[in-house]
């Protein structure tokens, strides 16, 4: 289920081992969470290139891709747990849930003004501007200042999402650099709780952003955003390192929206009885059996389990394929 990076990688690995694979994708096209990006962190590789390479893997003759197919029913094929599965009307030996994530709906944090003030955007919308190489403020002028806010809908008790989405920190750093590359004179600020530069080259990227591109990082949350008469955004925040409240006016406020379980993930994992915290699918254990579920023949991979980067999803898809093959061998 799901033709994202995890699903595609798993399908390719299984097909290469001689299995017949059907990939169900509810959208009209695979990889919708990659093809909307410009470049990927940390190496600024073009998202389109990576997407094309992944897509190429689907052309294996053992793989049949069914786009626009929103699976409505997954059941075990019989009372015997080894009987296999039925998905809609087809029978399978194994099912892999790779239904991925969706982004947080920023309107749920009304104080940040998304949907109310034209200068407030989500990180996805900024990505689109970067992709089109056209960054404009709300009155279609070149922006002079742009403010990023981290952890929107993540690590937030009020919205009920206590977890860290893992990739918005480095995304903000990446986007700030891209903005500076396109508009060198723009002032870029990133408001953060703490910067989680956990992956390879992330820390270096953060350093580069400060040293080479002059991106300014402010530790503190933005408490509210308001509009100005000329369509800009006025923010109120606290610099928690200086211990001072601050106000700032900016052309753009970019909300780094976190990751949430997608509708498909919620629905299908509930259907299969493996829905865990926050609507993500739950594996058997996070260490050694992270692709297995309590139900025989049902496997999970990628960001349907928890926030995960592209890199991790691909690796996890491959590992799921291995788990499926070993389960088949044991049978």
């Amino acid at each position: 289920m799901g033709a994202g990076p995890a699903g595609i990688e798993a399908a390719a690995a299984l097909a290469a081992s001689g299995c017949g694979v059907v990939v169900f994708e509810k959208n009209e096209r695979p990889l919708s969470n990659i093809t909307d990006k410009a470049c990927l962190f940390p190496n600024f590789e073009s998202a389109d290139t990576v997407a094309a390479q992944l897509l190429a893997k689907l052309s294996h003759p053992n793989i049949s891709l069914q786009c626009g197919h929103d699976v409505s029913c997954i059941t075990s094929a019989g009372t015997d747990p080894a009987a296999g599965w039925r998905v809609d009307d087809e029978s399978f030996d194994a099912v892999l849930l790779a239904t991925g994530y969706t982004t947080f709906n920023a309107k749920r944090k009304e104080e940040l003004g998304y949907g109310i003030y034209p200068g407030v955007h989500t990180s996805l919308e900024l990505e689109q501007m970067i992709r089109n190489k056209e960054i404009r403020n709300s009155i279609s002028n070149l922006p002079k200042r742009i403010v990023f806010l981290q952890c929107v809908g993540s690590r937030d008790e009020k919205t009920g999402n206590h977890y860290c989405s893992k990739l918005c920190c480095v995304t903000a750093v990446k986007q700030a650099i891209e903005v500076k590359k396109l508009l060198p004179s723009v002032e870029a600020y990133v408001f953060y709780m703490d910067l989680r530069m956990w992956g390879q080259h992330y820390e270096e990227l953060y350093r580069t952003a400060q040293q080479e591109y002059g991106v300014k990082f402010v530790r503190g949350r933005i408490s509210e955003a308001g509009g100005t008469f000329d369509g800009r955004v006025q923010i109120k925040a606290e610099d928690t390192l200086l211990g001072l409240p601050l106000r700032m006016t900016s052309d753009l406020l970019v909300l780094m929206v976190g990751m949430e379980s997608s509708d498909g993930t919620r629905r299908l994992s509930t259907l299969c009885d493996i829905c865990g915290d926050y609507g993500f699918a739950q594996s058997l254990d996070p260490h050694l059996r992270d692709n297995l579920t309590p139900r025989q023949g049902l496997f999970v991979a990628g960001a349907c389990k928890r926030p995960m980067t592209l890199t991790d999803s691909v690796v996890d898809g491959r590992s799921a394929a291995f788990a499926i093959l070993s389960a088949a061998d044991n049978k």
Partner: protein, 597 residues
């Protein structure tokens, strides 16, 4: 006309009288200055009349309980009103039967003395009175039967959870419950010996005879037990929940004179607390009970811990774990001012917390000039819901109304959140500053979007200009034709914010406005019975997950008729519902701004 067995009863009555008088006197002497002035000023005014009517309605007929549940009302009424009539009719009967006068207890033990004392003479309507007294006794007994039934199964009487009583209350109740059956048996035994009494008593007497007790010798013991039960009940009464019977009458009187609770516990609070019958009606519909199954913090237990010094250590935790949503007060048949008593406890336990320098910034807030304009106060909460303030600005502009957005740049909280937590002095410093600024501003009207501020301005402030919640204001704009709106295709359900609805009684204006811009669907629990959104500032104890459960219950109620939009009139409720992400949530002002033509 005397026998030793009447002594327990007489001693009980005397104890009750003395203790009650002392208690009431002590409480009245502890009224604060303001309360005393109100009592003295209105004591002999016409306000006496509604108090009498209310006392009859509530203390005897139990009207509000009947509205809660008919059977429960019947139970309380038969015990209270039935017993009251037994006393009154019994007294009349004794007067008619003893033309030469009689000691007061004869009315209580009439059937015992009637055949024995030569001073009791037959009178014309004697059989009628005997029948009447028996009918009344039957009436009381039917209530008693229901009370016993309720102990086993309370649901048919409209109650899921009932109060857990302490030992004194249980003993007193046992005494109370045995009074009437003992009376019936005693009178029955007398009837078996002397063939007096009405239809019920003589039936019991015949039964005794039929069972082989010719001239029962235990008659005397039964009268003694009856007297003992009365004596125990009366002497324990001042220390038990049954003190509410008399106290409620006093409370109703004082309340009708205009006495209200103050910031600190006074003698009047004692009246309120003792007027609570510990009926437990406040438990069932409290959202904290309904959704979180926490059933030890509601009014009945709050009052219990405040009344009883030994339980005071529990009072703080109980007082804090409440959203002050007012749902319990809406149901409380006695009308105890639970919110204020809760606040008194909070104040008491916050006494040591002080931050004398915390309000230095007040001096830096500048007065504003709004001469001839409407002052618009969004409130701190609306800072987090810019959709509402934007909508209001649009509406002011559409109406051509010059306005001044008071807290757009600089703002001072209205003080109510502090007040709710019992920080009286701190809230006062904010109130004083705001009041001074409003007075200087020259504004003609104050409109606020936040029901919390609204309640604060209306109840705590003394402003020289009218105050309106924006739903009232919008209603008047539409009525006066100053803005025109079109009716949209969408359907909405309306959530009554606690602070606006139960807090200030504003139920109709938002509904009128909504009906002019959308289709308003009815929901199961609304208006006075509306469910709290869970994120009310009143509670600082519940965790977000717990608040979310309370919110979800309110949302279930709102979403049952599948509306397109959930409408509300409070920024906090809006945020609470929006966070759940289950349906679009809009303020009344936003819906109006969208439908402006």
């Amino acid at each position: 006309m005397f026998d030793l067995f009447v002594l327990p009863f007489c001693i009980g009555v005397l104890a009750l009288l003395v203790i009650s008088v002392v208690k009431y006197w002590l409480w009245i002497s502890k009224f604060d200055g303001r309360q005393r002035v109100v009592v003295l000023r209105n004591m002999l005014s016409w306000k006496f009349l509604p108090a009498v009517w209310e006392a009859v309605r509530e203390s005897l007929l139990h009207w509000r309980i009947t509205k809660h549940n008919v059977i429960l009302g019947y139970m309380h009424r038969s015990l209270a009103f039935g017993w009251f009539l037994l006393i009154v009719v019994g007294a009349v009967q004794a007067i008619l039967a003893c033309p030469d006068g009689h000691p007061f207890y004869v009315a209580i033990f009439f059937n015992y003395f009637e055949p024995r004392s030569p001073k009791v003479v037959p009178f014309a309507q004697a059989p009628l009175y005997a029948a009447l007294m028996d009918a009344l006794l039957l009436y009381v007994l039917s209530g008693l039967f229901l009370a016993m039934f309720k102990k086993i199964w309370s649901k048919p009487l409209g109650m899921k959870k009932t109060t857990k009583h302490n030992l004194t209350d249980r003993v007193t109740k046992a005494a109370l419950w045995s009074i009437f059956p003992l009376r019936l048996l005693a009178e029955g035994a007398t009837s078996a010996n002397y063939h007096n009494g009405g239809f019920l008593v003589s039936a019991v007497g015949d039964l005794f005879t039929a069972m082989g007790f010719e001239n029962p010798v235990f008659e005397y013991q039964l009268w003694l037990f009856y007297s003992l039960a009365l004596g125990i009940f009366f002497s324990l009464m001042p220390f038990s929940r049954y003190m509410h019977i008399f106290t409620e009458v006093f409370l109703i009187y004082f309340r009708n004179l205009g006495v209200t609770e103050g910031h600190k516990k006074t003698g009047y609070s004692m009246f309120e607390m003792s007027a609570c019958s510990r009926c437990g009606i406040c438990i069932d519909n409290c959202p904290i009970n309904r959704e979180l199954d926490i059933s030890n913090i509601q009014g009945v237990y709050l009052l219990q811990t405040v009344r009883n010094k030994d339980l005071w250590h529990r009072a703080e935790a109980i007082a804090n774990n409440c959203m002050v949503c007012g749902r319990c007060s809406e149901e409380c048949p006695v009308g105890v001012d639970l919110a204020t008593i809760r606040r008194q406890v909070r104040t008491e336990s916050n006494r040591s917390v002080d931050n004398p320098h915390g309000y230095g910034y007040l001096a830096k807030v500048h007065p504003f000039n709004a001469i001839g304009r409407v002052a618009y106060f969004g409130g701190c909460m609306s800072r987090l819901t810019p959709g509402i303030t934007e909508a209001m600005e649009k509406i002011f502009q559409a109406a051509g109304q010059p306005y001044w957005y008071v807290d757009k740049e600089q703002s001072i909280c209205c003080g109510r959140p502090l007040l709710q937590q019992g920080f009286i002095r701190q809230a006062d410093s904010l109130r004083r500053k705001n009041q001074e600024m409003f007075a200087q501003s020259g504004a003609t009207l104050l409109v606020t979007s936040c029901p919390i501020c609204y309640q604060s301005f209306v109840k705590e402030y003394n402003l020289n200009i009218p105050v309106m919640h924006h739903t009232e204001y919008i209603k008047s704009l539409i009525a006066d034709g100053r803005i025109k709106v079109s009716k949209g295709a969408q359907s909405v359900t309306y959530h009554d914010p606690c602070e606006l609805g139960r807090g200030c009684g504003i139920y109709e204006p938002p509904r009128t406005v909504l009906k002019s811009v959308a289709t308003l669907l009815p929901i199961k629990e609304e208006a006075g019975k509306s469910l709290c959104c869970g994120f009310n500032l009143g509670n600082t104890t519940l965790g977000v997950e717990q608040q979310a459960l309370i919110r979800n219950a309110a949302l279930d109620n709102l979403l049952a008729p599948s509306p397109d939009v959930v409408a509300t009139a409070c920024p906090m409720c809006k945020k609470a519902f929006a966070r759940a992400d289950r349906a679009p949530v809009m303020d009344v002002a936003e819906l109006v701004a969208k439908q402006l033509v």
